[in-house]
Amino acid sequence: MLSPSRLHIPRAPARPGEAPDFSYLQLSAAGAVPRPEITVNASEVTGLATQLVRVLDNTHQAVGAWHPHLDPAELQIGLRHMLLTRLFDERMQKTQRQGRISFYVKCTGEEAVSVAAAMALEPHDMLFPAYRNQGLQMVRGQPLVALMNQLLSNTGDMCKGRQLPVMYHSSAARLFSISGNLATQFPQAVGWAMAAAIKGEEHIAASWIGEGSSAAADFHHALLFASTYRAPVILNVVNNQWAISTFQGCAAGDSPSFAARGPGYGIPGLRVDGNDFLAVYAVTRWAAERARKGHGATLIELVTYRASAHSTSDDPARYRPRDEAERWPLGDPIERLKAHLCVLGEWSEPRHTALLEELEAQVTVAWKEACIFGTLSEGPRLDPALMFDDVYQHLPPHLAEQREQLRAARAAQGKG
């Protein structure tokens, strides 16, 4: 007897008005997951794609084979970068609410994902961020004023007023330009890594993508190329559980994890607690060494939670329980690193407060300076002629003519 075929329509574990439910999350105890040799084949470590690498235990001690044994001074730097990222986010969100910038994207709760990874890499490694990786910008020392100028689209804007706020870049800091269209950075990072290998350079590339965006074909092409050529690249999926209003299971399908996409392509997939600074650092180091020594790419799934709205144009209360963030079982990355440092005797509440004050002041000073370059309503403005530059290397005659028409039209109105 034939029966009608069926469709499975995935359901978010909880929607507004329901109790948050994270029972779908597979967790491992801190220290429980083995650390293989970097030479390992993907097929030998498929278990790593469903377990969860964790270093910090419930008593805030670092345990297990993945413990990276970092100097406390390094950990303090990590804490500083994460705090700066969070304060910067909060302040920029506020300025957006005041109408001083048009748009902003926070990464609250996901700071370790970017900060620990960037610290685990070498300054010359090339980074291909998504739009929620501002921690990379912080670790690479992008001046706050430069970031703010981009957000303000002002006369100091590295993008010359052309890109959406948060689409930063810096060739000096080796941070690739962020794209508004998702997933494109993944094949580009693989291409960069292959080019580095073709040219005989020692640098590797790393890229980040949201779990929602990992549905895009670019993600899959990138994995295939990274596998075929054993490209020296680290491919990170930031699984923060939500892609705007769509829960992670939509992009995962029936796969047990995003890391599990790796072995299918012949790439080891590591699933890691993205809110555990030490664990993120350790797996990134492992993947970097593997890439540098010619053993190829690694796919890392960072399990974390988007504690903030998708962007300043989004209201998550419309699609997920209001108290979901508080119930997130992997805690807050800043609180966890702070607690670990305190347990080590390398940190204290007074030091924390002092650091917060110092960083707040740093953000305030930078904002004042950035405003001198112009805001949406005041100060100097970008020269409209800039609109015609950089479309091509050399300004073609038709654009020269259009630029002149615009100048003449503005002059006729008594502007410019």
Binding site: L7, I9, R11, A12, A14, R15, P16, G17, E18, S102, F103, S153, N154, D157, C159, G161, R162, Q163, L164, P165, S179, G180, N181, L182, A183, G212, S213, A215, A216, A217, D218, A243, I244, S245, T246, C250, A251, G253, D314, D315, A317, R318, Y319, R320, P321, L376, R381, L382, P384, M387, F388, V391, H398, L399, Q402, R403, L406, A409, R410, Q413
Partner: protein, 336 residues
């Protein structure tokens, strides 16, 4: 008659068509919203711009599907589903994302009927958001409808008001050819009188939004609003401007354009796209080829410059055709 804005008119049309025909389904990213909790329909997000609010609640999650973020698959599977007789309305959040699904549109959906020897209907609508004016920069502000209008086999619709949005979307959903329905993101809240019941506006029929005798202004999408405002202002000076909104650019109502130019003898085309190989060029070439003798002066095209769209509002404002530029063009045709 009640006033409705474009967003609500589209939402209402989707509901009416889904009630009328169980084969109509909605596919896209974030189209379901927060449904499922005790939140009620009101709180359901229903699309990032709220266009699909309430659909999943009324029609169930089999007919309103949130999909993974991969437009090539969304559009490709919607094309496949359309061939089976379903009538999908697939949402491409921003037309800029056409880059990743263009092969399905260009080489498949547009050509199915032709390549299959006429044996297949392709009742697919792709709703998408176009245009500048919201500071969304080079990758989220393009208009690009000219690129689609260039492809034989698909129809391209550009509603400029809520009344037309409803009537044209109805036609699009009932049409057996693939239709790209281009919603301008900066005019969703523009409202006008819209009947509650369903009605269809045929494709290929322009609307004259202002009647005049001195100059014809053909304007597209949001540019119709600007052209209307300029026409009203110039009327006070005694300049009589006829504004023509083609409403669909593929098919294009060439007869109405030619008839209007035959009357006025002057043509201005206002098009937010880049000028090279644009609909503005198509319409001026139409008039040059078919109605040269009725022209009293050279046609003028008012378009964006041939550059990407800048993000910062100050530059974006200069980028998009302005009322001042439209007025200047009208005066130029009158002087010539």
């Amino acid at each position: 008659m009640p006033n409705k804005n474009i967003r609500d008119a589209i939402n209402e049309t989707l509901k009416l068509e889904m009630r009328r025909d169980p084969r109509v389904v909605v596919f896209g990213e974030d189209v379901v919203g927060g449904l499922g909790g005790s939140s009620g329909i009101e709180e359901a997000a229903g699309g990032t711009f709220g266009i699909t609010t309430g659909l999943a609640a009324e029609f169930g999650r089999r007919r309103v599907l949130d999909m993974p973020i991969t437009e090539s698959a969304i559009i490709g599977m919607a094309g496949g589903a359309a061939l089976t007789g379903l009538r999908p309305v697939a949402e491409l959040m921003f037309i800029d994302f056409i880059g990743v699904c263009f092969d399905q549109i260009l080489n498949q959906i547009a050509k199915f009927r032709y390549m299959f020897g006429g044996k297949a209907d392709v009742p697919l609508v792709i709703r998408t958001m176009i245009g500048a004016g919201m500071g969304t920069g080079p990758q989220h502000s393009q208009a690009l409808y000219n690129v689609l209008a260039h492809v034989p086999g698909i129809k391209v619709v550009l509603p400029s008001n809520a009344y037309d949005a409803k009537g044209l979307l109805t036609t699009a959903i009932r049409d057996n050819d693939p239709v790209i329905f281009c919603e301008h993101k900066a005019i969703y809240t523009e409202s006008c009188e819209v009947p509650d019941e369903s009605y269809a506006i045929p494709f290929g029929q322009a609307a004259i939004t202002r009647t005049g005798k001195d100059v014809t202004v053909v304007a597209l999408s949001r540019m119709v609003l600007l052209a209307n405002a300029v026409a009203d202002r110039l009327a006070k000076e005694g300049i009589s401007v006829e504004v023509l909104d083609p409403r669909t650019i593929s098919p294009l109502d060439t007869a109405s354009i030619l008839a209007s130019v035959a009357k006025t003898g002057r043509l201005v085309v206002v098009d937010e796209c880049n000028p090279f190989c644009s609909v503005a060029s198509e319409i001026t070439s139409l008039v040059a080829c078919e109605a040269l003798s009725s022209l009293k002066s050279a046609p003028v095209k008012v378009t964006a410059p041939h550059t990407p769209v800048p993000a910062t509002p100050h530059l974006e404002q200069l980028y998009v055709p302005s009322p001042a530029a439209i007025e200047k063009a009208i005066r130029a045709t009158l002087a010539g």
